[in-house]
């Protein structure tokens, strides 16, 4: 198990390095240097020179990469080109809002999606099963930022139940929760359908296995068979897919944060892209990729814990 964990983490670090190298090389290969792109055509040569030095663009590309990683290891991700604030501070300010949003959405999706999938299995072949099936595909299809805009129109503009923008007042939990409802639901909606379908599919497979017959032959109640004997196995492929899908939850967060003007990572990075703020973009990408890669690794390790068969394969 430990060697497996070390191997996975090593691969994760390798991927991270690889990604940053590719990105720096891409910046280097693109015609026109980032400084002039950022400043526009009317910038003075002095201003340009200053910016190039500040961004470290006068160094060879391999040196820039080495510098970036050396600084990143000490927690220094560079400085905002315009405000000169440390990128790490900007990211740390925005990150909690995005993490709260992502985790709330995923939790809501699991809490609603898994029971719906189970219900589909218990009632397989009935109208309820068919309705859950069609609705699942439907909500998967609709883009989350359209859901966000429509719910903004309905709940904030027309009904005035919920605040339209922001993440709530600092220290005021009620306003923060209120500000979280719509963005979280906009992201969760599609995932409810996706999780329900995943759980249903893998559960149907498990329900045909002989050990379920054994559990039945001992007269265990159906709900216990579904919720303990079948779900424990069926949830395993679902967990790995949900982990992989966290990347797309982050993507949805970028759009949804824009709709609700929620000060998170998505807003930080889109603003940075709009102002050609290279260090902020690079730093945010590194942090988000690191988070994403570690979630994937954590999910793999969790699966190894949940499935004793997998655990033993990696023990040796």
């Amino acid at each position: 198990m430990l060697t497996y964990a070390i191997k996975r983490i090593g691969l994760g670090l390798l991927i991270l390095t690889f990604v940053m190298v590719v990105m720096y090389t891409a910046v280097f290969l693109v015609p026109g240097d980032p400084a002039s792109v950022a400043l526009g055509p009317r910038a003075t040569p002095e201003l340009k020179k200053m910016l190039i030095e500040r961004m470290g663009l006068d160094q060879p590309v391999w040196w820039q990469i080495v510098e970036f990683f050396r600084n990143a290891l000490t927690g220094n991700l560079g400085y905002d080109v315009w405000s000169n604030r440390p990128v790490s501070t900007l990211v740390m300010e925005a990150l909690p809002n995005t993490l709260v949003l992502g985790i709330t959405s995923l939790a809501a999706a699991l809490l609603i999606g898994v029971p719906l999938g189970c219900l589909s299995v218990v009632r397989r072949g009935t109208a309820a099963d068919a309705i859950i099936g069609v609705l699942s595909v439907g909500v998967i299809a609709v883009p989350s930022f359209v859901v966000a805009i429509y719910s903004l129109l309905l709940f904030a503009v027309a009904l005035r139940w919920l605040p339209a923008i922001g993440a709530g007042e600092a220290g005021d939990l009620v306003s923060q929760v209120k500000a979280l409802v719509m963005p979280a639901l906009a992201i969760a909606l599609g995932w409810i359908g996706y999780i329900a379908r995943m759980v249903r599919a893998s559960m149907m497979e498990v329900m045909g296995e002989p050990h379920i017959r054994t559990a039945r032959s001992f007269g265990l109640p159906e709900w216990k068979i579904v919720s303990k004997y079948a779900l424990r196995i069926a949830i395993i492929p679902t967990i790995s897919l949900v982990a992989v899908g966290l990347g797309s939850i982050l993507s949805s967060a970028v759009f949804v944060e824009a709709v609700f003007a929620r000060p998170g990572i998505g807003k930080l990075v889109t603003d940075a892209v709009n102002t050609r703020n290279y260090p902020v973009v690079m730093g945010t990408v590194l942090i988000m990729t690191a988070i994403y890669v570690s979630i994937t690794i954590a999910a793999d390790l969790l699966i190894a814990r949940l499935d004793p068969r997998v655990r033993d394969v990696f023990r040796g």
Partner: protein, 295 residues
């Protein structure tokens, strides 16, 4: 057994267009097919379907609610919303088709190389695919846009660059499976060269699943285009795009709510239509492929 007889009889009465018949049999797939056909026709005949130019500004008649003159109303610059939506269809579908085809071609090529080429190259390519796949897609996309600047061609590059790794992985897996199959081994014993094997045997077998995957990705691409245009990072104004129409509506959501209502509808209908059609295609052609992830 009786089902043998049944199979034989259905084989006798084989009808033409079995795929189309299968798709029309399911009410949802049938509706989806009609929706998709509608969008394709709208995109193809956009100039003939629109009463006004999608870019003609008329500030005297801005933010007008729907009327007989302007069915969907006008936007903040007085442009006819219906015309913009119709031309937005053209933008959405063109970008979706072009970028998916480019991504598919890159994926096909790299997948074949990885699956058929030497082991070190395979390992390197797989590491590349995995690294790109393990990036949160939107972060990668935003990074590319920062470097290249927003615009239609950037959008196509972004979509192609973020989606080709999953196609390449599929093609690689299929190629590896086929490469070690008995009939390819037999071909190699008969001294068939790699070019012949790839073009005559591998290609026809790996293209089917790829096309299903591509068709299932079209709604995702439509959504990405609209989303990035909504953020101002996609199609440049004044070119009409569903995303930028939504953004214009979003900025005047209190004074002219009809703009986001009409602006969002084609996006919802298009993603629903393409998704259900993709589902139907998948169920008919290859039920083992998985459902697409939410966008």
């Amino acid at each position: 057994m009786s089902f043998v007889a049944e199979a034989a009889s259905s084989g006798q009465g084989r009808q033409r267009f079995p795929l189309l018949r299968a798709l029309l049999a399911d009410p949802f797939t049938c509706t989806a097919l009609i929706l998709v056909a509608g969008f394709l026709i709208t995109a193809a005949f956009a100039p003939w379907l629109t009463p006004y130019s999608p870019v003609k500004i008329d500030v005297l008649h801005k933010l007008q609610p729907p009327s007989a003159e302007h069915w969907f109303g006008t936007d903040h610059l007085g442009r006819d919303l219906l015309s913009r939506i119709v031309f937005g269809t053209r933008t959405a579908l063109t970008i979706a088709m072009v970028s998916v085809v480019i991504a598919g071609a890159i994926g096909l090529l790299l997948g074949l190389i990885a699956g058929y080429g030497p082991r070190w190259l395979d390992a390197l390519l797989v590491l590349t695919f995995d690294s790109l796949n393990s990036l949160p897609m939107i972060m990668f996309a935003l990074a590319i846009i920062t470097v290249l600047g927003a615009g239609t061609s950037t959008l196509i590059i972004v979509i192609a660059a973020t989606s080709f790794p999953s196609y390449a992985r599929l093609i690689r897996a299929q190629t590896l499976a086929l490469k070690n199959s008995d009939y390819i081994l037999a071909e190699r014993l008969l001294d068939a060269g790699p070019v012949r094997i790839i073009f005559v045997h591998l290609l026809p077998n790996v293209v089917g699943p790829l096309i299903i995957l591509l068709s299932m990705d079209i709604p995702v691409v439509i959504m990405v285009e609209a989303g990035l245009s909504f953020l101002g990072l996609g199609v440049r104004p004044p070119t009409p795009s569903w995303g930028s129409i939504l953004y214009d509506g979003y900025t005047s959501i209190r004074s002219a709510p009809f703009m986001v209502i009409f602006g969002g509808l084609p996006l919802v209908l298009a993603t629903l239509g393409f998704t259900f059609l993709g589902e139907g295609l998948r169920d008919y052609l290859d039920p083992r492929l998985k459902l697409r992830r939410p966008a």
